[in-house]
């Protein structure tokens, strides 16, 4: 039993773990551990985990960074630049928080009443604020992966945007896996937007290629009444890296969210996204582009719950798989009984361009209200022959034509990203990815 190792670690280092951590995080730790102890990791005979063998991911003896040690980074600081875009930059190196926000910026944010920084620190400084939201959105009582995360969570990124405050510049959170040895990182982020607040977050996942890494990152996001939030994640990891965890969002009345997930280089990804449209007139757009080749494994499990009336959701995912890549998409849309006037639209389109690529898709509509407009579509196929011939007849080489068509295939999704500079950047990166050119972000140390 692979769980035993982690149970032993928890029991053995229990006091140390609690001693290192703020009270708020400790307060649910025991409860979460009990859930993990009882459930164990989800196995492949469970419907939602049929395509990802979670227990096997924990088989290498990673251990847990109980002492919350920072692995030192040599040389220049990380950069993950988007031309034409200035961001507030934060890091989570493995599972330890670091900031790269200068004094001026720091003060400007503080003046607006924005509370931000390390989850660990903020939980000590503002325990009441953190307690109100922490472990309230991600269901650690029913999901073993979240229970595991909650059991060992010590740090991560935190931001609180007060009522009617807009953070103009995007916040950039760079998750880096960096170590000279195999490493398991377990981090936890909490993002809170109060009524009428506005913020945009860009998340970049990177890892070094020399080691085996496993990250389990859980992000909870609370979007208050009429607040507007964007969350764009880009995964650009080495093949030997495994990422699990997910994003759990709760949206209040009239709030809007724009969530995207761009997987450029995966390794092994199991990503859960759960959006609860908890009050009326909330809207969300959830998008994903997943590019996989070699032995990449990309498994997205998404769940949008319409818990209130007059909400709207749009979900679009596209996969392009080559070589032996495996893609899996599950999209559950649940419309509760009194959620009238719901609009829910979901689409999953996939291209398999090699004999060994496999795609599994499972779009699901579960609808208990009647006054709804819901639809979903899913396709698995190849690049359209007619379009390919048309391009070739205009003198475009077959290879180039295929590239153009693959780009076009991903384009409508990338267009949904609401930060122009990022959108353009991602288009360039996707094209470079398809061309097999240097596709790493840019000067980022970790990616060289």
């Amino acid at each position: 039993m692979v769980e035993q190792t982690y149970k032993d670690i928890y029991n053995k280092f229990h006091d140390e773990l609690l001693g290192n951590s703020p009270e708020v995080l400790n307060s649910v730790r025991e409860e979460a551990f009990e859930v993990f102890e009882r459930m164990g990791f989800p196995t492949m005979d469970q419907e939602r985990y049929r395509r990802s063998n979670i227990p096997s991911l924990f088989e290498p003896e990673y251990g847990v960074n109980i002492k919350h040690l920072m692995v030192p980074i040599n040389g220049q600081p990380f950069r993950c630049e988007v031309p034409g875009l200035h961001t507030y930059t934060f890091y989570v190196v493995n599972d330890v928080f670091a900031s790269d926000v200068n004094k001026e910026e720091y003060n400007a944010l503080k003046e607006k009443g924005v509370i931000f920084g390390s989850l660990k620190t903020i939980a000590e400084e503002h325990p009441e604020l953190v307690k109100k939201y922490y472990a309230k959105i991600a269901p650690h009582k029913s999901e073993a992966v979240i229970a595991f995360n909650t059991t060992f969570a010590q740090d991560g990124f935190f931001v609180y945007v007060p009522k009617n405050v807009t953070i103009e510049k995007p916040i950039q959170l760079i998750n880096v896996m960096h170590a000279d040895f195999d490493f398991l990182a377990n981090s936890r982020n909490l993002i809170i937007l109060d009524e009428g607040a506005e913020a945009k977050v860009i998340v970049c996942d990177h890892s070094e290629k020399d080691r085996k890494f496993l990250s389990n990152r859980v992000t909870e996001i609370y979007i208050g009444k009429n607040a507007r939030y964007s969350h764009h994640k880009m995964v650009d990891s080495a093949r030997a890296t495994t990422s699990i965890g997910g994003v759990y969002i709760k949206q209040m009345e009239g709030s809007t969210s724009n969530i995207s997930d761009i997987v450029l280089n995966a390794g092994f990804v199991r990503n859960d996204v759960h959006i609860d449209l908890a009050e009326k007139y909330a809207e969300t757009t959830l998008c994903g582009v997943c590019i996989g080749d070699e032995h990449d494994h990309i498994d997205n499990d998404t769940f949008i719950e319409h818990s209130a009336s007059n909400c709207k959701s749009t979900e679009l995912f596209k996969y392009i798989l080559d070589d032996c890549a495996v893609g899996s998409f599950a999209g559950r849309i649940l419309v509760d009984q009194d959620s009238q006037k719901t609009e829910a639209y979901q689409s999953n389109k996939n291209i398999c361009s090699s004999t060994h690529a496999k795609m599994y898709t499972k779009p699901q509509l579960v609808i208990y209200a009647d006054d709804v407009k819901c639809s979903h579509g899913a396709t698995v196929g190849q690049i359209d022959d007619g379009a390919l011939f048309y391009l070739r007849s205009r003198g475009i080489s077959e290879k180039e034509a295929k590239m153009l068509l693959k780009l076009a295939f991903t384009n409508d999704i990338i267009e949904k990203i609401d930060i122009e500079a990022l959108r353009n950047r991602i288009k360039v990166l996707v094209e470079k990815r398809f061309r097999g050119e240097q596709h790493r972000c840019t000067i980022c140390n970790s990616c060289k």
Partner: protein, 476 residues
Amino acid sequence: MDIVDKVTNEDYKYGFETQIETELFPKGISEDIVRMISKKKNEPEWMLEFRLEAFRYWKTQEMPHWAHLSIPEIDYQDIYYYAAPKSESSKNPDDVDPELLKTFDKLGIPLSEQKMLSGMAVDAVMDSVSVKTTQQEALAELGIIFCSIGEAIKNYPELVKKYLGTVVNYTDNFFAALNSAVFSDGTFVYIPKGVRCPMELSTYFRINAKGSGQFERTLIVVDDDSYVSYLEGCSAPMRDENQLHAAIVELVALENSEIKYSTVQNWYPGDKEGKGGIYNFVTKRALCKGTNSKVSWTQVETGSAITWKYPSCVLMGDNSVGEFYSVAVTNNFQQADTGTKMIHIGKNTRSRIVSKGISAGQSQNSYRGLVKVTANAENARNFSQCDSLLLGDRCGAHTFPYMEINNETAVVEHEATTSKISEDQVFYCNQRGIKTEDAIGLIVGGYAKEVINKLPMEFAVEAKNLLSVSLEGSVG
């Protein structure tokens, strides 16, 4: 649109009970009961072994719970596994008990020579036994075998042995194992090489006895270059208790052959409070074994308290084609979890799925389907369209498609929509003087048209009527 329950529900018109003496085996299931059934039917030893093996397997299994259904606990020891009208002992087929003839007359299935429908041969099954099979002689002239499965086991053991259980093995699922152990009667069809069956073959299933379950078994084998169109109908009396129906249908299509299998499922759905009704747990599967073979399932599902049914096609032969056309209506407290599986194995195989769900009252209606393309199934094509229509704000419509694609030459497309019946359309009809009820009938008919049109004529009319009757009182 306000939901005003102003229309009085038309009673389930097939809900009467035939007063006839019934022979019953003791309640419950055991090896002894299985042996008794086999003995009663004078079965050969191999058939008994088939049953016992299945029974032993069944004992190790549990009820499946993955469907989107809430199934009350079923006491399998509180069911009669064999029930037969007493008069069945009469060996002369023309000498059927007049009470039974009357029953089937009332159901619209005349069995006597004078009244027999031309262009259709019927096997009438009540509870555990086949009462009468019509047109057998005319069919026999063409070499077509159309008889009860019991007779087939006796008269054509080699054919039955060759195909029985090859499409649905007893290990397939819980209900398949149960059926394989205790199946009573059902229909056997064999169409020899190069014969286009000139009439519709049909089986009408009737549950009559109280407290009994029906476990029929149908096996249809269509040899090279042949064709058959087969219809299945069913009904049961209105009772407060639930009754179990766990059937297996196996179809085998050989080279260049085609099977059209149509079902109008109208088991008693229970009353307006959700009391009573049939639990319909059925395994239907076709094996498109030969190249260029084709199987098309068409179903209109209006009855049953709970339906668990996935007529499927295993597309093994190159260029074989599978089709599934379904209209499933649920009203009041009915629950349905139905759909299909299309398993693409051969090259250039094609499948098409059209599913139209209609939910009303407090019912739950789910489409569940799998399209699987195996690694060697070059150039597989599938198109699925699954629509749900909601009438009323207490019902549910759910769609669970699964696509597992292991070959890059496949093109698989799934589309689904869920919406409420359009108010604009209803209003437009109203404005032209059509009352709401009729307008809904029109709109639902139009919505289900693509599927209804696939049914043979006689059935299409009945199906349309059934649709509007099933939905009566659902929208005011």
